[in-house]
Amino acid sequence: MSDVFVLGVDMIKFGRFPDRTVPDLGAEAALLALDDAGLNIDDMEAFYCGNLGQANAMVGQRILQEIGQTGIPVVNCSNACATGATAFREAWTSIKAGLYDVVLAVGVEQMGSGLLGGAGAGKGIPKEGLLGSGTMPAVFAEAGMEHARNYGTTFEQFAKISVKNHHHSTMNPKARYQIETPLDEVMNAEMISYPNTKLMCSVNVDGAAAAILVSEKKAKELGMARAVKVRASVLTSDPYQERDLVMPDVNSCTRKAAKEAYEMAGLGADDIDLVELHDCFATAEMLHYENLGLCGDGEAGKMIDEGEVELGGRVPVNVSGGLLSKGHPLGATGIANIYEVCTHLRGEAGERQVENARIGMTHVIGLGSACGIHILEKA
């Protein structure tokens, strides 16, 4: 099976674009990625498109209607917040299978406002606020409080994650916000669901990101100078856990995916120079330091306290600003984090560059659950 390389990758600056459409945002990202690769739409042999909000509305085909209807196969994917990573992985799979040499993957989303999560109406009466909460801030708060229960993790430690990611975003012109957000501001912001304040919740934004994946043969033909090798691509669903029915599990699917990804890459956590992980809430990021093996169980609080996950630290996490400040356009997130890691591996990240980055990891979680992990290496 051929190795697979990312030859072009880019994202639009995340923000709010009420006057634009989902296909329009996706088309912009696709063109940016094509330009980055020095290719045209008629070089693409297949197209995998990730979007959640219009999952039944042929977003991929509508993107091609804006940038070139070449007649290639289009697959529209939706997999909650792992949607973009799923589209990328389907593109990877198609090259691995030997079907194609040049494939386009796009993730795109336009977001509404307010809390995400099931209002839980179903039949009968609404269950929200009656049988606990199904809002995302509460669900991820409960997952964080499980960590607090096991290891004594504090509100302040969770809040420090948000301070870090907001700081990182000041160096990322494509992030939604570039605003320093000190600890007292994070902790004193409106409490949404304890321990997540408003500044510890990901930002609802519109966004799009795209990647051009190619076979080794094609990469050699087109030039390896800026190519990034996909060392591992893994997707898992959530294995059975005893509290599944009331506590969506983001841990076991991540641990399973990380284990498989390290095995596929023939690497260990010590080899990873930077990580873009799924900080949909500050409480979630804390869990994934341990889930991804960046530290031992119970050591995540120490990771944030001692600055090991900051730019310049042992293993910088979410130097893009993360979902907390760069923003979280659900279907775009999985490819946007691949863009971030590739940008560092190419040495093109400017002020936020992780020095001498050779290997990076991306991670997303779609609640319900799906986990996508990619390990990328400078070619």
């Binding site: 809390l115 606020g129 009656l130 606990g132 909460s133 809002t135 409490m191 669901s193 304890y194 009331v246």
Partner: protein, 135 residues
């Protein structure tokens, strides 16, 4: 007559309300709601209805200060491991919404009561369940 808020809340004509689980006789996993196959050990036809206990311990929680429009806040969204097996989620009542006042593993009992006055489109009222600390 009031209806149960979820299918796994049972309101027997003669007797007290209770929560019903379905337990796998092969691996012991307990589910809420009926199912044909155990998603833990994949056995078929091994699931039997069991009455869940009305007492348990607080496993995790969040204090919800912002919810969907029209939902009264704050409230404590609590995950409780029941004595004898099964984990359920609901509102923890009769405790101040203050992390200092909420202790992991605090013993709680299940109270069955009206569903906060909520009615469906046909005007039916509902019985729900709540967690209350055992002092």
């Amino acid at each position: 007559m009031a209806l149960p808020v979820v299918d796994y809340l049972k309101l027997p004509e003669n007797g007290d309300p209770f929560l019903e689980g379905h337990k796998c006789s092969n691996c012991g996993a307990i589910f809420l709601g009926e199912r044909k196959v155990c998603s833990s050990c994949f056995s078929r036809n091994t699931l039997e209805a069991v009455k869940l206990n009305n007492t348990g311990k607080l496993y995790s929680y969040s204090i919800v200060f912002r919810s969907f429009p029209g939902i009264d806040v704050p409230y404590i969204s609590a995950i409780v491991d029941l004595d004898g097996g099964g984990t359920i989620k609901g509102n923890l009542i009769d405790v101040e919404p203050d992390p200092e006042k909420i202790k992991f593993d605090m013993p709680v009992e299940i109270i069955f009561d009206d569903a906060l006055g909520r009615k469906d489109a046909d005007g039916n009222s509902y019985i729900s369940f709540f967690f209350k600390p055992i002092s």
